[in-house]
C-alpha cells in the first residue's frame, strides 16, 4: 500500500514535469530544451515570494500561470516562429529548435543565477498526512491533486472544445489542419504558451518538496523528454500514464530491491517500452 500511494504521488510529480513539454513538442513541434529552466523559474518565483513576503506557493502558482503563458507566447512568436517558417522539413526544425532552445536555456540559467545563485529551498506543507494507513507528505499530495486537476482539465479541453480540437488537429498534421482553415501558427503559439504555463506551475508546486537551484533545469528537461517519448508524442494520456508507470516502478524498486537502483530501473523500463513499441505507448506509427 505504501508503495502504491508513494508511487502514484511520485507519478503525479512526473506528470507535472512532462505535461507542458508534451503540448510544446506534440503540437508546436518544438523540442524545448529550456523546459526545465521554465520549471525552475516557477520554483524560484514561489521561493522568492514565500521567503520575502510569506505568500503561499499555491497563490504564487495562480500568478505564475498567466505570466508564464505570456512569456512563452512571446518566446514562440518572436524566437521560434521564424525558425518554424524557415525550416523546410521536420528534421531541419528539430535541429534549429535544439540549438535555439539550448541557447534560451543557457540565457535563463544566467538570469536566474544573477537573481539567486544559492539553493532554492523552503518549507511549505511539509507535514505528514495519512491516507489508508500510509504516511505521505502533504505538499506532495497537493502537487498530485494539482497534477490530476491540470491533466483532467487539459484532457477535457482537448476533447470537448473547438480550440482543443484544433490543437489536436495541428498535432496530427499541420498541413491538413491548415487546409481546413485552422490558423496553425496561432494554435501552435497557444499550445506552446499553455505548455510553458503548465510547466511553470508545476515548478512552483515541485519547489515545495524538491530542492532546486538555478542550474538544475537540465535534469527536469531530460526526465520530461523521457516521459513524453515513453508515452508517445502528442498524446496527453500517454504522458500521464508514462509518468505514473515511472513513479510506481521507482518506488517499487526503491522499497523492494534497492533505492540505489531506482533511476536505473526507470530508464530500463523506458528503454524496454521503446524496444517493444518504438512509437511509445500511445504514439502513432509514422510513415
Amino acid at each position: 500500500m505504501d508503495i502504491l500511494i508513494s508511487g502514484l504521488l511520485l507519478g503525479g510529480t512526473y506528470a507535472l514535469m512532462a505535461m507542458g513539454l508534451n503540448l510544446q513538442y506534440g503540437v508546436a513541434r518544438i523540442m524545448n530544451l529550456a523546459n526545465g529552466e521554465m520549471l525552475v523559474l516557477g520554483g524560484l518565483a514561489a521561493f522568492w515570494l514565500f521567503t520575502a513576503s510569506a505568500i503561499s506557493p499555491l497563490i504564487t502558482a495562480l500568478v505564475v500561470a498567466p505570466l508564464a503563458f505570456a512569456g512563452n507566447w512571446l518566446i514562440y512568436r518572436y524566437l521560434l516562429l521564424p525558425l518554424v517558417r524557415r525550416s523546410k522539413n521536420q528534421g531541419q526544425l528539430e535541429v534549429d529548435s535544439i540549438l535555439a532552445t539550448f541557447g534560451i536555456s543557457f540565457a535563463l540559467v544566467g538570469v536566474m543565477v544573477s537573481i539567486h545563485g544559492e539553493y532554492i529551498t523552503y518549507s511549505y506543507l511539509a507535514d505528514p498526512f495519512s491516507i489508508l494507513g500510509s504516511t505521505v507528505a502533504l505538499n506532495r499530495l497537493v502537487a498530485f491533486l494539482a497534477a490530476a486537476t491540470i491533466g483532467a482539465a487539459l484532457y477535457i479541453w482537448l476533447n470537448r472544445t473547438y480550440a482543443g480540437t484544433a490543437v489536436r488537429a495541428v498535432s496530427v498534421d499541420t498541413e491538413a489542419a491548415g487546409l481546413v482553415g485552422i490558423n496553425v501558427d496561432r494554435i501552435s503559439a497557444l499550445a506552446f504558451a499553455l505548455g510553458g504555463a503548465v510547466t511553470a506551475v508545476g515548478g512552483t508546486l515541485i519547489s515545495t518538496f524538491i530542492t532546486l537551484d538555478a542550474s538544475i533545469g537540465v535534469i527536469f528537461t531530460m526526465k520530461a523528454l523521457i516521459i513524453i517519448i515513453m508515452g508517445g508524442v502528442g498524446d496527453i494520456r500517454g504522458a500521464i500514464i508514462a509518468a505514473l508507470i515511472l513513479g510506481l516502478v521507482e518506488t517499487t524498486v526503491a522499497t523492494v530491491i534497492d533505492p540505489g537502483l531506482t533511476l536505473a530501473a526507470a530508464y530500463v523500463i523506458f528503454l524496454a517500452v521503446l524496444l517493444f513499441r518504438p512509437q511509445g505507448l500511445f504514439g502513432r506509427r509514422t510513415s
Binding site: S6, L10, E118, Y119, A137, A214, A264
Partner: protein, 404 residues
C-alpha cells in the same frame, strides 16, 4: 550589409574585444595586487560555491581595501579580484586558470570549490608557483598530493578524519547511554558519498556498531521517502547519511514527515548552511552534520558579524570560516614576505604559523593543517562543533529529542 555579415562582424568584434581585454589587463599599471579565482557560478556545484566561497572573497577584499591594502615593498597596495565562471566543467576550469596565470598575470590565485577541481587545477598552480591553499578538498591522499604539488596546502581535513569524527560522536553518545548500537546508514551514490560510506563501514563496525540498514540512492533522486521508510523499519538508534546538499534537505524533510525518531540524526554536506535552519526552524534542534564551529571565540564572532554586515548573509557554520582563514593565511604570508614573490610566499606558508579566525594554524610536513571541526550539532540556532581534530574546543553532543 546583410544579416550574415552583421553576424560575422559581431563575432569578430567580440573576439577583438576579448583580445583587447587581454592586452589591456597586462598593461594596466601594476598598482593593485591582482588575485584570480575561477568560480562555479553555474552548474551542479554553483549552489555550494555561492554559500561557502563567494561571500568570503567579497568580505576579505573589502576588509583589505578598507584598511588601505596589503603592505608590500614598503607601500600599501589594494587587492583586485578577477573572477571567471567555469560552469562546473573541468575543461573550462583548466582553461580559465591558465588564462588567469598567463594572460591576466594575476599575482595570486584562490582555491576552487570541490576536491576534483582543486586537484585538476593543482598542476597549473604548481607550474607557475602559485600557492594553493585548498579548502573544499577533503581527501585521504594528502601525503601523495603534497609530494606531487609542494605548493598545495590542505585545511579542511581528511575523509577518514570526518568519519572518525562521526564515530567519536556516536561512541560518546553510546557511552552516555543516549543511543544503542544500531546504525542506519545511507549515502548518495556519487564520488564523495561513496568514498565516505566505504570509509565508514569498517570504522563504525570496529567501534562495535551494527549497521542495520546500508543503502545508497542515486544523485538527483526525486523522492527519498522509500529510503527513510526503509531506515525507519530497521529500527535504528542512530541515522547517518553521507549526503549532498539537495538530499540533505530532502532526507531531513522526509524524516520529519515519517517521524524517524532517533536520538542521533546525521546528514553530511549542507547541514551547516544557514538555509537549513531557515527551512526547518526549531525542528532541527539537535541535528548532527558535517562541520560545525566554535561560536564563542572573539575572532569567530567578529568574523560572523562582518560577514553578515558586508554580504548581507549569515556565514555557513563550517567551511566558510575555513575559507576565510585560507584567505587570512595568504594575506599574512604576502605581508610576511613583504613582496609579491610567490615562491617566497609558498616557503613562508610552510614555515610559519598564522593567526586566523580558526585560531592559530600551521602546516605539517605534508602541508596539512590538522586543525578542523568535523561534526556539528544544531543548538538554539547555532551549529556548534561536537567533534574535531586538533581543535580541542568541541562540546559533547546531546540527544535529539524528537522533531518538534
Amino acid at each position: 550589409m546583410n544579416r550574415r555579415t552583421i553576424m560575422v562582424s559581431f563575432s569578430s568584434a567580440l573576439l577583438a574585444a576579448g583580445i583587447a581585454g587581454l592586452t589591456a589587463a597586462s598593461v594596466i599599471a601594476a598598482d593593485p595586487i591582482k588575485i584570480g579565482v575561477v568560480s562555479h557560478l553555474t552548474g551542479p556545484l554553483a549552489g555550494g560555491e555561492a554559500v561557502t566561497h563567494t561571500p568570503n572573497i567579497e568580505l576579505w577584499a573589502k576588509q583589505i581595501n578598507d584598511r588601505g591594502g596589503l603592505k608590500v615593498d614598503g607601500e600599501q597596495r589594494p587587492v583586485e579580484i578577477i573572477t571567471y565562471d567555469d560552469k562546473t566543467d573541468p575543461a573550462e576550469h583548466i582553461k580559465a586558470v591558465q588564462r588567469l596565470a598567463t594572460q591576466d598575470e594575476v599575482d595570486y590565485m584562490l582555491s576552487p570549490y570541490g576536491t576534483g577541481f582543486n586537484i585538476a587545477a593543482a598542476p597549473i598552480y604548481a607550474k607557475y608557483n602559485y600557492p594553493l591553499v585548498a579548502v573544499s578538498a577533503i581527501t585521504d591522499k594528502i601525503p601523495e598530493l603534497s609530494k606531487r604539488f609542494p605548493n598545495m596546502f590542505f585545511t579542511l581535513g581528511t575523509t577518514s578524519g570526518f568519519v572518525e569524527g562521526v564515530r567519536d560522536t556516536l561512541v560518546t553518545m553510546r557511552d552516555a547511554g543516549t543511543i544503542g548500537n544500531k546504525i542506519a546508514m545511507v549515502n548518495v551514490a556519487d564520488a564523495f558519498g561513496i568514498e565516505l560510506a566505504d570509509t565508514a563501514r569498517p570504522i563504525l563496525t570496529e567501534a562495535g556498531f551494527e549497521i542495520v540498514y546500508d543503502k545508497s540512492y542515486p544523485l538527483g533522486t526525486p523522492d527519498i521517502s522509500p529510503v527513510v521508510k526503509g531506515a525507519k523499519a530497521s529500527e535504528p538508534d542512530a541515522f547517518v547519511a553521507w549526503s549532498y546538499p539537495p538530499d540533505t534537505f530532502a532526507l531531513t524533510e522526509q524524516a520529519i514527515i515519517e517521524d524517524l525518531d532517533v536520538k542521533a540524526f546525521y546528514t553530511a554536506v549542507a547541514t551547516c548552511f544557514p538555509a537549513y535552519a531557515d527551512k526547518f526552524g526549531a525542528k532541527i534542534e539537535g541535528n548532527l552534520g558535517a562541520g560545525g564551529i566554535n561560536p564563542d571565540t572573539p575572532a569567530m564572532q567578529a568574523y560572523r558579524k562582518a560577514h553578515k554586515e558586508v554580504t548581507g548573509k549569515e556565514a555557513d557554520y563550517w567551511a566558510s570560516a575555513t575559507y576565510y582563514a585560507s584567505l587570512q593565511v595568504l594575506e599574512q604570508a604576502i605581508e610576511g614576505v613583504g613582496s609579491v614573490d610567490r615562491e617566497a610566499t609558498i616557503d613562508y606558508i610552510k614555515n610559519n604559523s598564522f593567526d586566523t579566525v580558526l585560531g592559530t594554524i600551521s602546516f605539517d610536513e605534508n602541508n596539512n593543517s590538522e586543525r578542523y571541526w568535523s561534526v556539528g550539532q544544531w543548538r538554539d540556532g547555532v551549529f556548534r562543533a561536537v567533534a574535531d581534530t586538533g581543535m580541542g574546543d568541541s562540546v559533547p553532543a546531546v540527544a535529539k529529542e524528537g522533531w518538534n
